[in-house]
């Protein structure tokens, strides 16, 4: 699996994710400060065509579950 390191915009700490996530229109989750954020770096060349392993031919934002508190935060913003 190709991975990519990202920096959290809130705590500035670095963590790694499946590089395919960067091609999706979804936020990432900082394991250090619990922030959900939209990554700035989008790797256009890595837009996924879906993955056989995940069993989905297309992956989009609608399938992604966010925790209750995060949904509340986004509604209040």
């Amino acid at each position: 699996m190709k991975i990519h390191y990202v920096n959290c915009p809130q705590c500035n700490k670095s963590f790694h994710c499946d590089a395919n996530l960067l091609g999706l229109d979804i936020p990432l989750h900082c394991p250090y400060c619990d922030l959900y954020f939209d990554p700035e770096e989008k790797k256009e060349e890595q837009l996924p065509k879906g993955t056989a392993f995940m069993g989905l031919s297309r992956i989009d934002r609608k399938i992604l579950y966010l925790p209750v508190q995060e949904k509340k935060r986004r509604t209040n913003v």
Partner: protein, 463 residues
């Protein structure tokens, strides 16, 4: 009394003096306090099981739960789990294989006879954050459960048991990671029908039950019956609160979270420190929604310490199953070593070679048995497969690279292997470091035994 986690702890106390260690002080598992204690013990060579009496919950409140970890860290504890006096590796393999073949039909009991129903928390009142869930390693995406997940096959009666890491998300949700094996296969079928799949998340039982979840059992066999074989008595099961007889859960478990994996939903999961001792990346995983939690009074939650010895040894049944497959292919196989080989995906096979080609056949059997195996080293039976120096000696002295090393292309790899360049496809390696049979070979240097016996060192060298 039916076997359960408490009878296992009693046996452990009787068999291994000083175990389990007990921590009566309050600890915060979600703030790395439990993992810090476990790591420091491991660094001091103390691999005892540890029972924490007062762990706080994820919600940072004192809880009624207790927490047990380091239950798999030594062969001696595996021997207690399998009710075996000897803790030699091959003896453990043979005991596991023998008992796992003695399938026992499950016994369905009434809820009044099921300890796991002593406390029942329904969907509205439950909060997974009330559990004392550990954060294991730096960068973990959240507190992680390391349960045995039980699921009934779609349109069938058989049950699958498997270890699946599950990340805490909120009061009713966990992320669940599934490797492409049986549980994943079940869910593929269910999701294709746009349906959810009920599962039970078992957080503590007798360790023979927990071990049943990592064996390489064929898809068409009932793993509840395998668990019965390992326990030496039928596994007692009880209808679940949320799904009734559609999902039978272990009656003697400490805690079961009942719920379902949802179709067409995914969630962010990870990073997580895996058995490879590497932190796997954040990824999309599947979404679990809880419908009920049932547990014993003063329940003991079991947690495997991720990315450490405990995690590795929880894979023991896989090693035993690989031993069986290799032995079935080549009867001259004496021993194998995966978990202590020093490499997450290395296997060493020690065998008495009778004809050329046997090492290759043994290695192929291992590679076909499990995608946990990527590199196979085959050595003669005078080599201890657990001794890395012995292995290096054999490769150095018995191997020619142009004829004894085989690279295999396009085989299924392990998703947790970070060196994979494609999603699931990789390569394999076989090194035959056995001595050739078709020509005389130099013997190992050694003294005449009678000369060695005759000399008493103390008579010549004063200490």
């Amino acid at each position: 009394m039916p076997k359960n986690l408490r009878t296992w702890l009693r046996d452990l106390e009787e068999r291994i003096p000083g175990e389990p260690l007990r921590v009566s002080k309050m600890v915060k598992p979600a703030s790395f306090e439990v993992s810090s204690i476990l790591q420091q013990l491991e660094e001091r060579g103390n691999l005892s099981a540890v029972l924490f009496d007062k762990p706080t919950s994820v919600n940072a409140k004192p809880s009624d739960y207790r927490l047990l970890s380091h239950a798999f860290t030594t062969r001696e504890k595996l021997a207690v789990s399998l009710d075996l006096q000897d803790s030699n590796r091959v003896s453990l393999f043979e005991k596991y294989l023998e008992t796992s073949r003695q399938r026992k039909k499950t016994e369905i009991v009434a809820p009044t006879e099921a300890p796991v129903k002593e406390v029942i928390i329904g969907e509205k009142s439950l909060d997974i954050g009330d559990l004392p869930i550990m954060r294991h390693n730096s960068m973990d995406g959240g507190p992680y459960l390391t349960p045995v997940v039980v699921a009934r096959e779609p349109n069938g009666e058989r049950y699958n048991t498997s270890w699946n890491r599950m990340m805490y998300i909120d009061s009713h949700h966990l992320a669940i990671y599934m490797s492409p094996r049986h549980l994943w296969t079940y869910f593929q079928e269910v999701e294709a029908r746009q349906e959810s799949m009920p599962i039970g998340v078992v957080l503590g039982h007798h360790m023979a039950f927990m071990l049943s979840a990592s064996g390489l059992v064929p898809l068409d066999e009932d793993e509840y019956e395998v668990a019965g074989g390992l326990l030496g008595e039928p596994l007692r099961v009880v209808p679940s609160e949320a799904y009734g007889e559609r999902l039978l859960v272990p009656a003697d478990a400490e805690i079961v979270i009942e719920g379902e994996i949802l179709p067409q939903r995914r969630t962010l999961e990870g990073p997580f420190g895996e058995f490879t001792k590497l932190i796997g990346p954040q990824r999309l995983s599947w979404l679990f929604r809880a419908r009920a939690i049932t547990h014993r009074h003063r329940p003991i939650m079991h947690s495997v310490f991720g990315a450490h010895m405990d995690h590795l040894y929880a894979h023991f049944p896989i090693e035993a199953s690989i031993f069986q497959r290799v032995k079935q292919a080549i009867t001259g196989v004496k021993d194998i070593c995966w978990l202590r080989s020093g490499g997450s995906f290395h296997l060493v096979i020690s065998m008495k070679k009778r004809t050329e080609g046997e090492p290759m056949r043994a290695a192929m059997a291992a590679l076909s048995a499990s995608n946990f195996i990527k590199h196979v080293f085959v050595v003669d039976d005078d080599i201890d497969p657990e001794n890395a120096k012995d292995l290096m000696w054999a490769i150095s002295n018995c191997c020619q690279a142009d004829s004894d090393i085989t690279v295999l292309h396009n085989i299924q790899g392990q998703l947790l292997d970070p060196s994979l360049r494609q999603e699931t496809k990789g390569s394999g390696l076989i090194i035959d470091a056995t001595r050739p049979l078709d020509r005389p070979y130099s013997p190992r240097a050694a003294l005449p035994p009678e000369a060695l016996e005759k000399i008493r060192l103390e008579d010549y060298i004063s200490s």
